[in-house]
């Protein structure tokens, strides 16, 4: 391992905020079941509810509208899966409402769940996105019908960082009195998110993307919105998610959110500056690159870039040898053998996806690290292009 570690893969996960680490270590001995009536139980309950209040107030919700889950993926699964519930008593189940509308660039936990629902008889339509990854709003207007039960559009894309106009989309969906969900896992804590302002019915968030612990997520469920639980067998989370609460995770999540409320605004500006420097450095020092995603409506720390003639897995492994951690949209790194569905969905060729890397900056990254990346990347790309079958041929 190299001596240096430049971790710029913060959309994959983030290191714990030192303050989060502190409260979690302090809470490590806390063992009471929040459902118990005795002292240890009440102590745990108090801390869980305090965390819930922090999460709720950060997104403009009331505490009873926030349900903790095991992950963002679980929260997304919960909302979507409700559509296939066939019980007559289910508040979510309405005769004839068997259609979901989502997009082609969602996280796999939404796409795979949609595919599964399709096999269970739910009709699923996918909205296209433009060259920047923005949802086609006109297509949405036409797609929503009186048979639509739910529309789910992610707020910010994990791979390319493109931010959707969720407020406008929610308005269109609500004109047809259809429920609207947004997966805001990559957005909350990075850009302002207010459920009242956005007018959403469901919103998913996650702990480990914002310097909290892994294994904890949350779902905002608007007060009047119908609900059907995914995990049954307990009264926890107001009957919405059975299972003893992940108290330690919830406490850490609450603290992470609290720290975001203090740091987000200043960090957003700082990250934009780092990203601009990085982008300029890459542009100046490496020929034949293509930046992917929306130039302005983009997460402050996310930069997706494709290098002509260079394969992504080779790029990330050479960078890894230099102590730099990033991700790629190349098939070879995914294990699934398919290149990034997001990059294909925005209309770029497969070669572009195979040659792309995602750089995601976070609160610990410094200008010094960005400069190290700018110095290292040209060497790596040059080395790969020297042995590339495709690159020189085009020169």
């Amino acid at each position: 391992m190299p001596e240096r570690l430049v971790y710029i893969d913060n959309n994959a996960t983030t290191p714990l905020h030192p303050e989060v680490k502190k409260v979690m270590i302090d809470a490590m001995g806390l063992f009471g079941n929040p459902s118990s009536l005795h002292g240890p139980g009440r102590e745990a309950r108090q801390l869980v509810e305090a965390a819930r209040e922090k999460v709720a107030s950060f997104i403009g919700a009331s505490p009873e509208e926030v349900m903790f889950s095991g992950s963002g993926s679980e929260a997304n699964n919960t909302v979507l899966s409700a559509l296939s519930c066939q019980r007559e008593r289910c508040e979510y189940h309405h005769e004839g409402l068997h259609e979901i509308i989502t997009t082609t660039i969602e996280h796999p936990c939404v796409l795979e769940t949609s595919k599964c629902l399709q096999e269970r008889g739910v009709k699923v339509s996918y909205l296209d996105v433009d060259h920047y990854g923005k949802v086609n709003v006109e297509q949405l207007q036409e797609a929503v019908t009186d048979r639509t039960g739910l529309v789910s559009v992610m707020m910010a894309n994990n791979e390319i960082g493109t931010i959707q106009d969720i407020k406008k989309i929610a308005e269109i969906v609500h004109q047809q009195e259809v429920l609207f969900h947004t997966d805001a896992v990559q957005a909350v804590g990075k850009i302002p998110v207010d459920v009242q302002e956005l007018g959403v019915d469901f919103l998913t968030l996650s702990g480990h993307k914002i310097y909290g612990p892994k294994g904890i997520g949350a779902l905002y469920v608007r007060k009047e919105a119908p609900f059907c639980p995914l995990i049954r067998g307990g009264h926890q989370e107001r009957g919405r998610r059975a299972g003893t609460e992940n108290t330690l995770g919830i406490i850490g999540f609450g603290k992470a959110i609290e720290m975001r409320s203090q740091e987000m605004e200043a960090e957003e500006k700082r990250l934009l500056k780092l990203k601009a420097t990085l982008r300029k450095g890459i542009e100046e020092r490496i020929p034949d690159v293509q930046f992917i995603g929306h130039p302005t409506d983009c997460l402050p720390g996310t930069l997706n870039v494709s290098f002509d003639g260079a394969e992504g897995e080779a790029i990330i492994l050479y960078l890894d040898l230099e102590g730099i951690a990033v991700s790629t949209g190349s098939a070879c790194a995914s294990g699934s053998l398919d290149p990034s569905h997001v990059i294909l969905a925005i209309g770029l060729p497969a070669e572009c996806a195979h040659g792309s890397i995602r750089i995601s900056l976070g609160r610990e990254n410094t200008m010094d690290e960005v400069e190290y990346m700018i110095d290292t990347l040209p060497l790596v790309i040059g080395k790969i292009r020297d042995m590339s079958t495709v690159y020189k041929r085009r020169q």
């Binding site: 391992m1 394969e311 080779a314 040898l321 098939a331 053998l337 070669e351 195979h354 079958t389």
Partner: protein, 203 residues
């Protein structure tokens, strides 16, 4: 931070960091045979060129280029070293498994990336035979339909094994082989074992 194991063996890492025999000057390399395998759309492409001692029928030099991942780079680098001084016939019979052995093994899901080098090498050797009037020596890798109902060939089965199929059921999932009359069941099972044996060694 504790020492973290690299995904690949030290040998793979060494070949990846310092790849041997890269074809830097494609235009001026006077090759005796050239092979191109894969394509960029699928995520990897490989060019292998060879120089041959025509009297002894021995490979004197082997160079390569790729649009490929770490496994493709490391395995072709290793292959290019192995075949120097090797008889054409022996080099033709090298398999991905031999290269993997040399490298100390690749992760299972990366083996399919490493077969590109030896495939391109076989094409380069065939190209040498063609250029030198030895068409009779050319060995084609012809496809043969194994499952007549679903029109599945042996090469498709080999491909599916490389992509991760390990059981008859997984093969069916990926290729639909044997989902018609079922007559090919026995042959497919045999092919499955052959290709597993061919590409995946226990190191």
């Amino acid at each position: 931070m504790a020492q973290v194991n690299w995904t690949y063996t030290d040998k793979v890492k060494e070949h990846f960091m310092n790849p041997k025999n890269i074809l830097m000057d494609e235009e001026n390399y006077q090759e005796d045979g050239k092979g191109i395998a894969g394509n960029v759309k699928c995520g990897d492409e490989m060019i292998v060129v060879i120089k041959v001692n025509k009297e002894k029928m021995i490979i004197n030099d082997c160079k390569w280029k790729t649009f490929g991942c770490a496994s493709a780079i490391a395995s072709t680098s290793a292959l290019s070293e192995m075949v120097k001084g090797m008889k054409l016939n022996d080099a033709f019979n090298l398999s991905a498994k031999d290269i993997n052995k040399e490298l100390g093994g690749l992760p299972d899901h990366k083996v399919h990336c490493s077969v590109l080098g030896d495939k391109a090498l076989r094409m380069a050797i065939n190209d040498y035979y063609m250029r030198n009037g030895m068409e009779d020596k050319v060995k084609r890798e012809e496809e043969r339909v194994v499952c007549k109902c679903m029109n599945v060939t042996d090469q498709e089965i080999e491909h599916a094994v490389l992509e991760g199929a390990r059981t008859f059921y997984e093969l069916q999932e990926m290729t639909k082989v044997g989902t018609g009359c079922g007559e090919c069941h026995e042959e497919v099972t045999q092919l499955l074992e052959t290709y597993k044996e061919k590409h995946f060694c226990q190191v």
